[in-house]
Amino acid sequence: MILLLRALARLVSFLLLVILALAGLAVAVFAIGGGAGGFSIPGLARLAHLPDLRDEVRMLLTSVEAAGPVAAKTAAAGAGAIVLGVVLIVGALWPRRERLVTLESGDDGTLAARRRPLTRAADALVDQTRGLVSRKVRVRPGRRDGGRIRVRARHAPTDDPSELKTSTEAHLAPLTEPFALRTRMRIRAADDRVVR
């Protein structure tokens, strides 16, 4: 959801900047000409139908002043604009997920790692669990600190999934404890029984 809002905020801000740049360019070009002819600022205003727009806005404001359907639609449009503005602000200002997982931070400096090395290490540790037929390991850094290791694995029907889960978590401990990572496991047997 946040990714979508961020993409929307970027798209809208890009489009607004393009429109602003084109408008500025047009004003700059038309400002070269003087007087009130075609090649001048008043000429540009006529070209953009600004006098017509002014008249329409005047009529709209007169309609809004009186109670009626136009006033209700305008109020709804205003509320929609506020909601859109809030959505864009959230998309622009929501903190990004920290991609670097900090292991230790103090007077001596910071020790940290990105997802790939952590995923490699986590995968090797999960590999030590006997009885897992297949596995998929992902590391997801937290928004502020730490993060989460997500393990999806399959085991033979004869093995106890609870024991496998405990064993895997124990194997991951050298990684989860210093990096403040939480483990989320999903072990599926051949009959698709899921243990979380």
Binding site: L103, L111, A113, R114, R115, R116, P117, R120
Partner: protein
């Protein structure tokens, strides 16, 4: 890997410290190389060479904080122990070069992992 410096180009305490730091880090078997980052933000010029994956930043007290951005070489054991080993080796190398008093904080970040000729991680 860090090559020999060009004797005709100047070095400073900061760049010499950076050279010693990345040299000590890359001397470890579990470290593949330094990562220069997007736009080369994690690199230092020393003696006509660009040292990838190391930045030394001056502090108000006259010392330099060293930031290392490294690619680990698979297989490695504990990342924690490896990071501590890198930091200890950097401090040892700095002391051996007479730069022990110039070192401030040493930060280590593993940016990617290399397995054989393949490097996993974002292109940096």
């Amino acid at each position: 890997m860090v090559g020999p410096p060009d004797s005709g180009s100047p070095s400073t305490t900061r760049s010499l410290l950076a050279r010693r730091a990345i040299g000590a880090a890359c001397a470890l078997a579990e470290i593949d190389r330094g990562v220069r980052g997007q736009a080369g933000a994690w690199a230092t010029r020393d003696a006509g060479q660009t040292l990838d994956g190391v930045v030394a930043v001056a502090r108000p007290d006259g010392r330099y904080d060293v930031d290392l951005h490294l690619t680990a070489r698979w297989p490695f054991g504990s990342l924690h122990e490896l990071a501590v080993e890198v930091r200890d080796d950097v401090l040892r190398a700095a002391r051996a070069a007479g730069l022990g008093d110039a070192v401030g904080q040493v930060s280590v970040a593993f940016e990617a992992v290399a397995a054989g000729s393949v490097t996993e991680g974002r292109p940096l």
